[in-house]
């Protein structure tokens, strides 16, 4: 773990028309996978949105390392149909690593993304986020649409692609968080 944090939240309260989460204080360092867990409506996604300049900050601060680059994967990845992009096209668009794609996902590279299953598309988008060169990756419910095999693949991807970056991961699946995260923070 590097000494200088990539991200520092200090007493952050965030929301949309009114605050819905906080106060939250935490530091995120390179090499960490930090899980955010909490019941529905506790503001986990809003917290990620505030870090990504999407939600409003009502109190506290969000301090980013200079030139910090973020990649964001929301609960519902954008799916357009029809869409004549292959998996390879999608990864190239994100500036992601095409060569190192895990074996079971490699077949998706040649197929149009609008013909992939929800789980395959989800994993492809997570891979894009993890290997796009971003320093901090925000993943909101990445286990959505994943069967147990794909969930294991996601866990492998997270452990294999973390050395140069950090991940903030929202999930309501405590077992998954405990499996992949270096620490878990309860929100709400």
């Amino acid at each position: 773990m590097s000494a200088r944090p990539l991200l520092t939240l200090t007493g952050l309260r965030a929301g949309w028309d009114r605050p819905v989460v906080g106060p939250v204080s935490l530091e995120v360092h390179r090499g960490e996978v930090i899980g955010l867990w909490g019941p529905n409506g506790s503001g986990k996604s809003t917290l990620l949105a505030a870090i990504a300049n999407g939600a409003r900050v009502f109190a506290g601060t969000v301090r980013r390392a200079p030139q910090l680059r973020l990649a964001v994967q929301t609960q519902q990845p954008v799916r357009i149909a029809p869409l004549p992009l292959t998996g390879r096209d999608l990864l190239r668009t994100a500036g992601a690593d095409v060569r190192g794609v895990p074996g079971s996902l490699a077949a998706a590279l040649r197929r149009r993304v609008d013909r992939l299953s929800g789980g395959q598309y989800q994993l492809l988008c997570v891979w894009a986020a993890l290997t796009s060169g971003a320093d901090l990756v925000l993943l909101d419910e990445p286990t959505n649409n994943l069967d147990p095999d794909h969930e294991s693949l996601l866990a492998e991807m997270l452990s294999g692609q973390i050395a140069d970056r950090a991940v903030l991961l929202v999930s309501h699946e405590q077992a998954f968080l405990e499996r992949v995260c270096s620490r878990v923070i309860e929100v709400g």
Partner: protein, 259 residues
């Protein structure tokens, strides 16, 4: 028929239309990606109204049309409106203005009609110059715009999260699309311009195996339909615009019902 097509009188119109048939399908693929394909119809209506208004006040039709379409594209970009709703209002505003200007100026019905149907065979040096300029600008800017716009569509939060100067490429594309449709409306007509933007992209989105293929297929379909329509309209002594639309619809039917 071959004598008519080879007549030097038609060389300039042919070249003008061919350049537009190469550029507009590319614009259409990006508009289809952004689910803003109705832009073509909205901007074409504004351009037609602007062209007629321009003529009424002593400007050339392409200049009037271009100013109106660029105005519409700029307003949409600065207001941050995405999606088809903005273009629906442009259609209504342009249609209303077009008919009112035609009814209340010396230019009259005939020219308004020509703008709707297209007047490719009367295209002159100004129209060719506009098409050449459009092609040049598109050739320079599309390689830069394409990856940014595709990325913005698939990963929309990245621009906000990283505070990217996204307005540059979104406004840039809005203006390029507006200019392309305005130039095309003045020569190909309102529906011909819309069809060249919408139909090749619609087909490509359904049949292309990947993104580069989608761009290539759109250009091939657009230019192919144009060549067929140019020859057929001359041979059959029919207005170009409806023949172009018929050719494109035929291609769309094949794309939809292919085995």
């Amino acid at each position: 028929m071959s004598e008519a097509i080879l007549d030097p009188l038609f060389h300039l119109p042919f070249a003008t239309g061919l350049l537009l048939a190469l550029v507009l399908p590319l614009l259409g693929t990006l508009l289809m990606l952004r689910e803003e394909w109705l832009a073509a119809l909205g901007l074409a209506h504004l351009a037609a109204a602007g062209a007629l208004l321009g003529l009424a006040v002593g400007m050339t039709a392409p200049i009037g049309g271009l100013l109106a379409a660029l105005g519409g594209g700029t307003a949409k970009a600065l207001l941050g409106v995405r999606g088809n709703a903005a273009y629906a209002f442009m259609i209504l505003a342009g249609w209303s203005a077009l008919l009112l200007i035609a009814a209340n100026t010396a230019i009259g019905d005939a020219l308004g009609h020509a703008l709707v149907e297209g007047q490719l065979y009367f295209a002159g040096p100004v129209d060719l110059g506009a098409a050449i300029l459009l092609t040049f600008i598109a050739t320079l800017t599309l390689p830069w715009l394409l990856p940014k716009l595709v990325r913005a569509r698939l990963f929309p939060q990245d621009e906000t999260a990283n505070r990217l100067p996204a307005r540059r490429w979104h406004l840039g594309f809005d203006l390029l699309a507006a200019a392309g449709i305005a130039v095309a409306t003045a020569t190909l007509g309102l529906m011909g311009a819309f069809a060249l933007v919408f139909v090749p992209a619609w087909c490509a989105f359904r049949i292309a195996p990947g993104w580069r293929w989608a761009l290539l297929i759109a250009v091939i379909l657009g230019s192919g339909a144009y060549l067929v329509a140019f020859a057929a309209a001359l041979a059959l002594d029919q207005p170009f615009g409806p023949i172009l639309v018929a050719a494109l619809l035929t291609f769309a039917g094949v794309a939809r019902w292919r085995p």
